[in-house]
Symmetry: C2
Subunit: 231 residues, 2 copies
DNA sequence: ACAGTATTCAATTGTTCAATTGATTACAAT
DNA sequence: ATTGTAATCAATTGAACAATTGAATACTGT
């Protein structure tokens, strides 16, 4: 391999060499976001987030588009998403720290991990399972599992009455390293619901070619029976 | 995703952020090598190569073992190999420079790229194709395609008489970014042989789960008919 | 045109990194 | 024990990087 070509590969490594940029990519895996939202969610100053995004842009890992005053960033393509999946896979297999950290405070008894999404889909459609997407509404809108209800973590408590006590509740969020669904499941169990966490998130869906939908929640703020059934 | 977990992912990115380390990983993808060999082939000083290898070791991307005076390094597992494949895939899809560089001076008319290895294997066994592995002998020994002959690039000229003029010759080396097979094919064509390059190398074999063999060449320096036939 | 907002740019700081050099360790052979 | 060799360590240099700050740009709404 030539030095010049190795340097090109290293460009991608450099882009991934900062924890902040990895964090940004992970958020971008949830869908397109404006700079300010990314800065807030990753805990960086606006200018700093902007500069990190430019680095990712220079590495062609993200793309952006201007809409009014805001600049929306997104992953540069599905290749980036599947690469992130393989990076996470590598980290889990090679870095004991990652697996340990993940399973230490991010696991709940009865986690669904590496689940058969086709079977899950069938159970959702049959009404045996209520799927909860506990990410922020924008991330649900960008991409979610078919049949899932948008139930942002901070609104869960207020909407408990919408949830059935006879069906199993499966909550998911951004992926195996996201704490939202863990907290949601623990809360639900405390309230007497039968709840489990689905560890997969958009990165894993992409890797396993799981079908997704996009668009806003079918039941925005209504107080109706939210469990979707076959017509 | 937590900051601490992102930092773990970034460890891997950091390890890949230097062209020299990418180069080392690419050579290690060919098989286990002692430090000195890696330093030589990558054009680094011994101390420098050693330090880069320690960085890769700290990231758990490589492992080593001591044999006598020498320390032999190898990839830490097959997960690393498949990750390298996905890194190369990402680079090709996202960085126009890579694809361009590769196809500029590393392509030969009639390259086999993304070939069906099962079909290739059949033709090799049927004697319709002579497979040449033009990498150094150690790399051939570490892993090669079944039925391939070890024909290091620097010995090709002396062994031209071993090659058939009626069968097609397919040469491969370290992968799409390796120049050895390109040079070999051009040389062979000048001499009137019917030759093509197989762009795949060990990284691609791993990705496509192509069967490989290891061990020394079946015809070390003999002047015998080297074309392998079915018994 | 004007004010307001989202983002980017530019200059600065302290930190981290890559390569070189020379010294040191670990081991094998004799 | 002594010698030689492979690899690593330690200390140094200059270069690249991350975060902060304040200014500049680009666009919207009025």
């Amino acid at each position: 391999m030539d030095h010049a070509i190795a340097a090109q590969f290293a460009r991608l490594g450099k882009a991934l060499s900062s924890p902040q940029r990895v964090l940004l990519l992970d958020f971008l895996a949830q869908g397109e976001r404006p700079v300010e939202a990314l800065a807030t969610v990753s805990g960086m100053s606006l200018a700093n987030a902007s500069q990190h995004l430019r680095v990712l842009l220079a590495a062609h890992l993200v793309a952006n588009r201007k809409q009014g005053l805001q600049v929306h960033y997104r992953l540069a393509g599905s290749a980036v998403l599947s690469f992130l999946a393989s990076l996470q896979g590598l980290a889990e297999s090679q870095l004991a720290e990652v697996a340990q950290a993940a399973h230490a405070h991010l696991a709940v008894v009865g986690d669904l991990d590496g689940v058969d999404h086709r079977e899950l889909q069938r159970r959702v459609e049959a009404g045996e399972v209520v799927l909860l997407d506990v990410r922020p509404a924008e991330e649900y809108a960008a991409s979610h599992l078919p049949g899932a209800l948008s139930m942002p973590a901070d609104k869960l408590r207020r909407r408990l009455t919408d949830l059935p006590r006879n069906a199993e509740i499966v909550a998911y969020c951004r992926g195996p390293y996201c704490a939202l669904a863990v907290a949601a499941v623990e809360e639900l169990r405390r309230r007497g619901f039968q709840a489990r966490r689905l560890a997969d998130g958009p990165v894993q869906w992409a890797q396993r070619r799981v079908r997704t939908e996009s668009g806003p929640s079918p039941v925005p703020t209504n107080r109706r029976q939210p469990s979707p059934r076959k017509p």
